[in-house]
Symmetry: none
Subunit: 191 residues, 4 copies
Amino acid sequence: MASNNKTHQNIVDASYKLFSEYGFDKTSLSMIAAEVGITKPAIYYHFASKEALIDYLFEDSFKDYHFEAYFTIDEFTSINFQEMLIENGLRILLLEDEDDSVMRILNEFLLTITRNENYHKRLLQMQEDFLNGFSELLEKGVTLGVVSPMNITARAHVLAMVFDNISSYMLMGLKLDYRLIWIEAVNNAIR
Amino acid sequence: MASNNKTHQNIVDASYKLFSEYGFDKTSLSMIAAEVGITKPAIYYHFASKEALIDYLFEDSFKDYHFEAYFTIDEFTSINFQEMLIENGLRILLLEDEDDSVMRILNEFLLTITRNENYHKRLLQMQEDFLNGFSELLEKGVTLGVVSPMNITARAHVLAMVFDNISSYMLMGLKLDYRLIWIEAVNNAIR
Amino acid sequence: MASNNKTHQNIVDASYKLFSEYGFDKTSLSMIAAEVGITKPAIYYHFASKEALIDYLFEDSFKDYHFEAYFTIDEFTSINFQEMLIENGLRILLLEDEDDSVMRILNEFLLTITRNENYHKRLLQMQEDFLNGFSELLEKGVTLGVVSPMNITARAHVLAMVFDNISSYMLMGLKLDYRLIWIEAVNNAIR
Amino acid sequence: MASNNKTHQNIVDASYKLFSEYGFDKTSLSMIAAEVGITKPAIYYHFASKEALIDYLFEDSFKDYHFEAYFTIDEFTSINFQEMLIENGLRILLLEDEDDSVMRILNEFLLTITRNENYHKRLLQMQEDFLNGFSELLEKGVTLGVVSPMNITARAHVLAMVFDNISSYMLMGLKLDYRLIWIEAVNNAIR
DNA sequence: GATGAATGAGCATTCATTCAT
DNA sequence: GATGAATGAATGCTCATTCAT
């Protein structure tokens, strides 16, 4: 699909940086070309259009954002269940160290999504991946006898919402004790 | 300050509609003028600039979005605490009936915010208003003897996150049992 | 011709100030209205158009700029001729103290003039008024026996040019010994 | 720096023509584009902005307007001094044949200058170049024993003013015997 | 693989002017 | 005498895109 050429990657990198800083609309191909150090038409050699470039970033940025990347469900046992759930979830905090770019652009997509069919479906799937992931996980907990079977779907969803919002709040710069929040949420979920 | 003129309101209405549909950047003043049925310069008679128009919408759309508009803390008693917390919170579901515009534009601001100092501060304050609101509420619950005093801050924050995300998920079109989710979250919080 | 109303004069004053500072094109009626503290359409009550306002200023600002306002030819005698010519001419230096506005706007007209038939004629007349004035003056000097008759036209023109340029150079901010320059020019002219 | 492209020069030529005819403000980029036969954005390929285009013309039009372009001081001797001064100075009359554009635009700058720091300095320098040039020239005349040493600065300045005004008056369309005027001025200066 | 040159479409903004009140 | 509201026309500028080289 993509030419595995250096310029190609430079364009992608510059795009992440600029799109996340200024948004899709306020970032022009000129800006990207300037950042890369090439001319505008050169971008067209690598991407058919601005939209195609954005599409590429969409695929690229979400390819690792799925439930199993965070929660390794197979490793959960009746003994380590609570601990695993807490530790796995706290991986989300690592985003803080990471480059803001991916988070910001992810958010950019979230907005674009409400208007763009293409992305909308894909994002709903992702969101549901997490909702289902937490549901399955809790169900496994029930099977293992470490999670109460009552309202597990609702509890899984609460968990998913908290997990989701931790990254949002971090992105916005709110300084909260996310660690404690997550632990509290987990404890409620498996209680 | 605002002319109490009909055109003024028409511009505001059209702006809500178009901005929420296409976003700030992709909505031009021409589009707004066309929607209202006036000429572009007429907008400038009512708003100094596109930015000023957006600012106006910002103030306008957030003026009723604060904790006390949802949670009437004074009416909470030891007897009705749980029930009130649940019922008050479920008001968020009413957004579903309401015009999407306000929600969408609210989201638009959320994105714009990461890049715009002006809005950023204001939104953080709003977010903190809710975080603090839930904290105070739970503290009152502790005083009333209906809420466990353990980790109340973390629990308040979990509650705030769930509350916050319910509107986001609704906006995205996810069909979940928000009622049950909220009840579950409340029960965990006051347990 | 003009309504002898206060607002009328305020508009004229504001126009002098703003036109001289920003030029005709870059000064809008809005700016003038704002400076006066009235609304734009109010200007139209006093002046039919922007052009009419400028015309008015043109007439107004040049009405006192003619040779006889500086050189009182009748008072020149064989005894005081040189002294009078010097002293009268030095009046031009007083412009320095005066508000820059008039000089600046005069210059603005000078430019506009090359493009506008209306003003062009009028300004040529003014220029010629000075050229002729100096010629007559020197001729009188010849009659009085205090000025050499050779090339008096050319010498009058030299004098006019120096006189003219003194104001230009002052306007531009050049710091020269204009006094000495004028005396030198006069001495050459009547030698 | 400048693309050695034909269009570039066409833009410059059209700009000279139109700016000198209508002034900077009343000449729009559309007009220039139409005159050249290209589209507006094409101008932006060659000049970053309207201001940048004007700057370019400023540099371009003044690059040959300095004292030494008219007066070849080294060739002045005690024998040819008067003759050289006259002949060299009369070169200014050649401007008459030349395209008005340059003179007109030069005048346009003169006005712009009173408001624009950038140009102001540069023009003052040019003016001073001539003032100093004439001073040096007369000083050389003194050294050569062909010019009286009295008030040479004032006399040099008178000369500069006459020289300067000859072009202005020609531009305005005044028909004078500039030849005789200049000769007279020179004779007075070296007398 | 990439550039120079150019274009069509569009945008936010400003301005002189008008007119009913 | 003056204002509120609006307009038509224009302006400088930007952008995504194209295409011959």
